[in-house]
């Protein structure tokens, strides 16, 4: 194995004979004059852009204040006819307090087959990107393992606005910790492989609902995701 390593590295070095010996990687210029974000927006406008871009990618967007959340989640799950709902560790208990569906915890011992049989999943997120309509989950509190937002056919993701919303991809990467497993979600699972006709849901959830949860004052420590 180390044989392959030495061979490949030796070939790389021979191939780069034209690169001056003293040159350091930092000597090769990278001009970063591209923008950190596109356009000037207030926090509220950034949230509105997130909502618009999510909707364009066929996610269903809802807005509510803190005290409306339990009722809204109950309605969303009931409308879907969900008999069971998967809840990650650290999901604030009051979020699902009004829900009729049976709560299923994501335990380390749960098999993929068991989780697949659950109708819906509710999670929080780490950060949401307005310009691209993207939610990023990082396994933090209220988000759970990567598999739980994948196996059930219906995913409800709660985004705290405005504090979990950033304008752009560069701003999102700044906030994220690469050591955590990350899932970026932009709209529901989709394919255009057959005559370029878009079909929602091949393997991931066919329905993605996003709840923009308006939080005023200090962020709720229990739902603060991210690293």
């Amino acid at each position: 194995m180390s044989d392959g390593r030495d061979r490949v590295l030796a070939r790389v070095r021979r191939a780069l004979a034209d690169v001056p010996r003293g040159e350091r990687p930092g000597d090769v210029p990278v001009d970063r004059s591209y923008r950190r974000a596109h356009g000037e927006r207030t926090a509220e406008e950034t949230v509105a852009l997130l909502a618009a871009n999510l909707a364009e990618y066929r996610a269903v967007v809802h807005r509510t204040a803190q005290d409306g959340l339990p009722g809204l989640l109950r309605t969303l799950l009931a409308r879907r006819g969900a008999a069971s709902v998967l809840v990650p560790a650290g999901l604030p208990a009051h979020w699902t307090a009004a829900v009729d569906a049976r709560r299923v915890d994501d335990l380390a011992a749960s098999t993929a087959r068991e989780l697949e049989a659950v109708d819906s999943v509710v999670t929080g997120c780490a950060v949401a990107v307005a310009e691209t309509g993207t939610l990023v989950l990082d396994g933090g509190p209220a988000q759970g393992r990567r598999r739980i937002s994948l196996l059930p056919d219906h995913h409800v993701c709660v985004v705290r606005v405005p504090d979990q919303v950033v304008a752009s991809v560069p701003e999102a990467l700044e906030r994220l910790d690469p050591r955590r497993p990350l899932t970026w979600i932009s709209g529901p699972s989709a394919t255009s492989d057959i005559e370029l006709e878009r079909v929602e849901g091949v393997h991931g959830p066919r329905t993605l609902e996003v709840v923009l949860l308006e939080v005023s004052g200090t962020p709720d420590a229990a739902t603060h995701g991210g690293g």
């Binding site: 070095r13 991809v169 050591r179 497993p181």
Partner: protein
């Protein structure tokens, strides 16, 4: 080394058949035009596209010029995060490593997320030979695998198949691979996707080993990135106990921050979306989330040979977005199969002959599979100068010269088929140096124009196979000039 399939026809031959296939041309035209239009709109949303593109090019150039540094750094980061790094100089070595890792788990089947690197090395066949069945899980790859077909587009590999053909393939083949297609399956895309969902879900839920490629590897952090749409990638990357990623060494980027450039360039260039539905990023292994064992196989397989070529090196900047395919007038008519490689279109025309060398007929023909119109360069998100590399490779095919094969400097001989062209060029040089002879010759050609055949006989035939023979005017230009203007002075 993997090469072309034995008997693979050279590009002009393969393209001729494709061009005669009306259905194929229709499918391709529809696909490339649709994606092209959408892409232009997605790119226009970002007013700093030119700066992003310049940064993407510069980051890749920095990486390539110091590739050894970044590969060693990547190895250290992945290892520190709990992964194991393997190095493979060629396809055989990579297949041996992966096959060994799979067999050590005791599993007899693996699920795969679409990976061009594993296709390039023929991994599925190598696994099959060892009694391990590999299931492709991307919908288009499934269509290709069940149809015993080859992919024809980087992004939409089954673009050459219409819905009726796909329905027939599913109805006929699914049962032999697992869950059969439902009775009375229609050709509605939604029904076909549902059949694929049911068929593949059984495999995902019991899979012990997942195999992937990667779009990017971050040297600084050891993070791997896979972008996709369907979720089959997420299934392969998170459900199995063991994950094996086979990735070309050119896919490394220096820092976490560099992803901000490529995650803006790639989705808009490829699927014309602001962002693709799913992106998964993982760094080694994570406690209680995802695979317990992670192996990264770093693949050379001709990449260092490409790196050794100062002009051709830029092909390694490619981020596999496939924008170049969708604007290429040659690809639009010939389709992906004509290129005889995993990498179709303009990028295939410059990458394959470098990865594999120009020794075979198909590889020697690929640098000619272009009109040199440069549309590919205009859309390339990392600004690869396609015409420059194409002409450089044509020169090598015709004249031979220095190149690196399997890490060794070799002197290539001129390709055989081009002797007539070289003779013609020598003759032209002589004629242009002798104006009187040229004038006499031109007059003779003009006077005999009615007798000219539509195609050249003898060694000139190859030239007219791919081109219309120009019509000869009734009078040479210089005679005409003298008659109409020259005398007036």
């Amino acid at each position: 080394m993997s090469g072309t399939q034995p008997g693979t026809p050279a590009f002009p031959e393969a393209a001729r058949d494709a061009v005669r296939d009306g259905t194929l041309r229709g499918n391709l035209r529809h696909a490339t035009r649709t994606i092209r239009g959408k892409r232009a709109r997605a790119v226009a949303e970002l007013d700093d596209w030119a700066e992003l593109r310049a940064a993407g090019k510069a980051i890749k150039d920095r990486t390539l010029r110091h590739l050894d540094h970044y590969l060693v750094r990547l190895e250290r980061s992945v290892t520190a995060a709990g992964g194991t790094v393997h190095w493979a100089a060629d396809a055989a070595e990579a297949n041996r490593i992966v096959t060994g890792l799979v067999k050590a788990t005791g599993e007899r089947e693996v699920v795969k997320v679409k990976s061009m690197a594993t296709q390039e090395i023929g991994l599925n066949e190598a696994l099959e030979a060892e009694g391990v069945r590999a299931y492709e899980t991307d919908l288009a790859e499934l269509i290709v695998q069940l149809g015993r077909d080859r992919p024809s587009h980087t992004l939409v590999p089954a673009i050459h198949r219409n819905r009726g053909e796909i329905r027939d393939v599913f109805a006929r083949e699914m049962a032999a691979w697992g869950r059969p297609a439902p009775d009375g399956l229609t050709d509605r895309p939604a029904d076909l996707a549902e059949a694929a969902r049911l068929h593949l879900r059984e495999k995902f839920l019991r899979a012990g080993v997942g195999i992937s490629g990667a779009n990017f590897m971050v040297a600084e952090t050891g993070t791997l990135v896979v972008v996709e749409s369907e979720g089959n990638g997420r299934m392969c990357l998170t459900l199995p106990e063991t994950l094996i990623s086979v990735v070309g060494i050119e896919k490394v980027v220096p820092t976490w921050r560099d992803l901000e450039v490529f995650l803006q360039l790639l989705p808009r260039s490829s699927t014309a979306e602001r962002m693709n539905p799913y992106t998964t990023m993982w760094t080694g292994t994570a406690d209680g989330d995802g695979p317990r064992a992670f192996h990264l196989v770093l693949l050379d397989n001709g990449r260092t040979d490409t790196l050794a070529d100062e002009v051709g090196r830029q092909a390694l900047r490619c981020i596999r977005c496939s924008a170049c395919l969708n604007v290429c007038p040659v690809y639009e008519r010939a389709g992906g199969h004509a290129y005889g490689s995993v990498y179709p279109g303009p990028i295939g025309a410059i990458l394959s002959p470098q990865l594999r060398g120009t020794g075979s007929a198909v590889d020697a023909s690929l640098p000619y599979a272009s009109s040199l119109c440069g549309a590919c360069t205009d859309v390339c998100p990392v600004a690869i100068d396609f015409p420059e590399v194409l002409i450089h490779l044509r020169e090598r095919v015709v004249q031979g010269g220095e190149a690196t094969r399997n890490g060794v400097r070799v002197r290539l001989r001129p390709a055989k088929g081009h002797a007539a062209e070289r003779a013609a060029m020598r003759a032209a040089r002589w004629a242009l140096d002798h104006p009187a002879a040229l004038r006499a010759g031109q007059r003779l050609v003009s006077r005999t124009r009615r007798l000219h055949p539509a195609r050249l006989p003898g060694p000139g035939r190859a030239w007219t196979d791919a081109r219309e023979l120009p019509e000869v005017p009734p009078e040479p230009f210089r005679d005409w000039w003298r008659r109409t203007r020259g005398d007036a002075r």
